[in-house]
């Protein structure tokens, strides 16, 4: 296994439905769960499955993604041989929807040619799950499949296992076949390849809209869900920060919340996800919300159903409310002033 499987993360996903969270970052780099970014789940799953070589193909706004991944050290992927490889799209002048993953892979074909792994696991970067891919490879070989697609409750997770040689063939013949990506191949009922479906039974949620982002975040508060995601022997790894433990003051009131390190909680927090380094001042009430890194919430603010991106500043006394269906989003670095900011 260790030397047999190459990980390919297709981080080119763009979703119009997530645009409020992606003005300066790719979908793969959206912060999640107080200390993670979406890509941490697929990347950790690959590493925990024994994959030692991972190639990441991003297309849009990848500064934050590169900053997050660094040398790959946090995933133990800073290796002399193999490790983490980063292949930004070489053609930024092309229209954004014009090139798809096979075109993108083709631009970096040398890497795939040089890889020594016989099999390739191709996955997108925006699914929240904790999965071991070793059984998928065993299944793939046992069943004699050409392409194995991983499915959860009958839906594709956009994870495909193929022989590296087949992937190369698909890339080389893309102009004749018209296949632009793996999904095109598996959707074509006339394709000559033997297609298998591998059923994954555990928790999985693909984040492709604000609805799903909010849902997946709130589901983290369900012990049945977080116990499936955060396993001791298969940890979700992320870029570590040197934040101190979180400080809860004498007046803090906290219920049903997930809170990362380095936060200072002086107010009330309920049913919320609080990221690293967030400050919630005295008298503030935060409910049903997602507060991202280093955001500061002033005294006596009332926030309900909001998603505050990184480095937002909510001045004292401000109230902001969204609804369960339409959470109110404040973009990175914004400042909320005034008496009442309601949707």
């Amino acid at each position: 296994m260790k030397k047999r499987l190459l990980g390919v993360i297709d981080a080119t996903t763009y979703s119009e439905n997530l645009k409020d969270l992606t003005p300066h970052r790719s979908v793969a780099a959206i912060p999640f769960g107080g200390r993670y970014r979406l890509i941490d789940f697929i990347l950790s799953n690959m590493v925990n499955s024994g994959i030692q070589s991972v190639a990441i193909f991003p297309k849009y706004e990848y500064r934050s993604l590169m900053d997050h991944l660094g040398s790959g050290k946090n995933w133990d992927l800073n290796r002399k041989r193999d490790g983490l490889f980063f292949f930004p799209s070489p053609r930024l002048d092309k229209p954004v929807f014009g090139i798809d993953s096979f075109e993108h892979f083709a631009a970096n074909i040398d890497f795939l040619n040089r890889s020594t792994q016989d099999y390739c696991l191709i996955a997108s970067a925006n699914t929240i799950f904790n999965m071991d891919f070793y059984p998928v490879l065993e299944w793939h070989m046992e069943q004699g499949c050409d392409i194995t697609e991983v499915r959860n409750a009958g839906e594709s997770l956009n994870i495909f296992l193929v022989k590296t040689s087949l992937l190369l063939e698909l890339i080389h013949t893309r102009n004749e076949t018209g296949y632009l990506n793996m999904r095109d191949v598996v959707k074509d009922i006339n394709s000559p390849y033997r297609l298998c479906y591998y059923p994954y039974e555990g928790y999985a949620l693909t984040v492709d809209s604000i609805d799903h982002y909010y849902l997946a975040s709130m589901e983290l508060l369900n012990p049945m869900v977080w116990k499936q995601l955060f396993l001791k022997d298969r940890p979700i790894l992320t870029k570590v920060k040197d934040e101190p433990p979180t400080h809860y003051s004498k007046n803090a009131v906290v219920h049903n919340s997930m809170i990362a390190n380095g936060a200072i909680i002086e107010g009330t927090v309920e049913n919320s996800i609080i990221a690293r380094g967030v400050k919630i001042a005295k008298g503030a009430i935060v409910k049903n919300s997602i507060i991202m890194q280093k955001t500061q919430i002033g005294e006596n603010c009332i926030l309900d159903h909001v998603i505050l991106d990184k480095d937002v500043k909510v001045e004292s006394g401000v109230s902001i409310a969204g609804t369960k269906e339409v959470p109110r989003i404040l973009q990175k670095g914004s400042i909320a002033k005034g008496e009442c900011v309601n949707t």
Binding site: P235, D242, P244, P245, H247, G262, V269, I273
Partner: protein, 373 residues
């Protein structure tokens, strides 16, 4: 040169299998994170760590020093254990003997100055300012000192100085102290001077090979330039269960001088990479520090909680320190205790001191006798 070989015997079972510098502190750290982070933050990137007592956990914790940004092409962190030489076995018999036996390490770098630190204290200090002071005073050795309360001065090594801060006398645990400036065990030496005195001390069979007892008094006798460097700020020797508990409680004070949240003087540590802490619907959590990977369902106040701890429903935990991966069972009452790493306290246990002011240390060995339900 960071002296990290101490046993810390007054910490009882906490240091049974662990050197004192590796004792957990502050919900996330180990004691040695403070001097190591101070080094990095002061721009010192060549650090020898001298280990001897129970070094396994300490050695693996330090690793190649990447947590403190001390994995360097030149210098970086080097763990220096005692070793056998062609003629003898060489245990470190005192602080000076430990450095003497690593003169070869120092020769490799041939520095202008050598900073000697101990791995036993909690403090944030810019060693660069101390070096500036050392150079400005034209000192052969500079000793960092901190004012201690007069009534406690008899517990410390006290330095008497003139108004220029020149050291005139050492008073080890004086009955009638003339000054309240206590040595912090932090020294800057001119390298050549250090080498000379260590060589000399090694030949002296009546020496205990200790900086405070032998080297510095000898230098004073020889009329070398010894200066004190007064340090302002938080400094605490966490050598006893009581003082370790106190130092943890100090972190909960709003006005605590050891601000762990200071971005400009980060205390670095090996990060466990655990999920965020989960605070349940029924939990009550106030006036506490809580680290990653914890699940808090009970009532927690004035407590420092390390990574991976579970506090079950209806448990009440007050004024305590819960070390990594401990589990506090349902309905427990824990008060004024340090609960050691990995301890599983059964449901309904009551642990609180019988004597006022006592701090309990709960370990595998003491768990049964301490439960009073």
């Amino acid at each position: 040169m960071l002296l990290a070989g101490g046993q810390g015997s007054r910490l009882n079972s906490l240091t049974k299998d662990l050197a004192k510098p590796a004792v957990p502190f502050g919900g996330k750290y180990r004691i040695i994170d403070f001097p190591l982070s101070n080094c990095t933050n002061s721009g010192i990137y060549t650090v020898g760590v001298l280990t001897q007592y129970q070094p396994l956990i300490l050695n693996s914790y330090i690793g190649i020093g990447s947590a403190w940004d001390l994995d360097r092409k030149d210098g970086g962190v080097t763990v220096l254990p005692p070793y056998t030489a062609s003629t003898e076995m060489k245990w470190y018999t005192g602080t000076a003997s430990a450095i003497y036996q690593n003169l070869n390490y120092l020769h490799q770098y041939n520095p202008d100055y050598v900073l000697i630190l101990s791995g036993d204290h909690i403090y944030k200090m810019n060693y660069e300012l101390m070096l500036e002071h050392h150079i400005k005073k034209g000192a052969d050795v500079t000793i960092s000192v901190i004012p201690v309360p007069w009534e406690e001065a008899n517990r410390f090594g006290i330095l008497n100085t003139d108004e220029e801060l020149r050291v005139t006398e050492f008073d080890e645990k004086p009955k009638n102290p003339k000054s309240n400036l206590a040595s912090m065990g932090i020294y800057i030496f001119k390298w050549k001077m250090l080498e000379e005195y260590l060589e000399q001390d090694n030949l002296n069979s009546s020496s205990s090979h200790d900086f405070g007892k032998d080297i510095l008094p000898q230098m004073l006798k020889d009329r070398k330039n010894l200066f004190a460097y007064p340090f302002k700020g938080y400094w605490k020797d966490v050598g006893t269960v009581q003082s370790l508990w106190e130092a943890n409680m100090d972190l909960l004070e709003d006005s605590n001088e050891l601000n762990l949240f200071d971005q400009n003087w980060r205390i670095y540590s090996v990060n466990p990479n655990q999920p965020p802490q989960f605070i349940s619907q029924e939990a009550k959590l106030t006036d506490s520090l809580v680290n990653e990977g914890c699940v808090i369902k009970g009532n927690v106040s004035r407590t420092v909680v390390f990574q991976g701890v579970t506090i079950e429903t209806d448990a009440v935990v007050k004024e305590s320190v819960i070390m990594p991966d401990a589990v506090i069972g349902k309905g427990c009452l824990i008060e004024k205790a340090i609960v050691s790493s990995g301890i599983n306290i059964p449901d309904g246990s009551v642990i609180r001191p019988k004597i006022d002011g006592e701090i309990l240390l709960v370990s595998e060995e003491t768990l049964e006798e301490m439960v009073t339900n």
